[in-house]
Amino acid sequence: QVNVQQPLCDSPEAEEAALVALDYLNAQHTHGYKYALNRIEEIKVLVRPDGDLYSLEIDLLETDCHVLDPTPVANCTVRPKVMTAVEGDCDVMLKKVGGALTVIAFKCKTDESTEDLCLGCYSLLPLNDTAGLEFAHASLATFNNNTVNVTYTILEVGRISSQLVSGGPQYSVEYVIVEANCTDDACVPLNEPLTERGFCIAKGSLTAHTVDCKMFPMPVVDANSTAVPDPALPPAVHVFTGSPSHKHGLRHHKLTSHHDPHLSGLLSAESAESDEIV
């Protein structure tokens, strides 16, 4: 016999659990964008002597803050539907011990909303779209031409979208840049603690475009002047060296899909919803 409680989905208890789950999911997410809480769909609390178990179903929406951007997700803007919203549906199990909630398993499914697409609107392209990537590199060259002593390369492409207008396709591309050591052949990203990184949005065509890059704040330096590595810094295996790190045809970055180390059975298996390797 199990004692199951069902708090209101908008109760402080449910909100607390949802925010713990959201922070955890965003911390697990090493590519793409941070997600914001849109709705608590369901909550059940299994009261147990060794700590209550929370079963939570939450609906998330993609923001415009890249996961490497230190901006708190509460200050990030959720992408509107017309920009092709990306949504995450997550089942999360949490355990409450000593008043503290801890995520012990989760399962997420990520989808994009296409119901509001219109003629002339931007539509998402795969992250390995050749023309889109060519545009990204052209815009980065423009940016590099306007910097002194530093050259940047693309660390990760976040979004590629295009819009068909009378003068030809117009692109809107978002990507993360990192300082790089460039030769005639290739650029190798610097992977030092104080390497500067930033987030760029480029719009237009190959020959006429704008590019706007926002550099991320530098990592914290401790009292011994030793830089503390940013935990969000992706491992070297993900660095971009002339072709995108995602060689598959994802239309967008997906949430980490599944983490159920000790609790198989607590979360129903719905197959692998994400192809992204994390």
Binding site: R39, E41, K81
Partner: protein, 34 residues
């Protein structure tokens, strides 16, 4: 409080008009859009 005021506790039908019961437990409010 009921004893102090001389009231009689009522159960059954009276509870069905409790406004709390009219609030759906889940799903919760939509923060951005559906």
């Amino acid at each position: 409080v009921a004893a102090t005021l001389g009231l009689t506790a009522v159960d059954g039908p009276a509870l069905q008009t409790d406004p709390i019961l009219l609030v759906p437990a889940c799903p919760g409010r939509v923060r951005f859009f559906k």
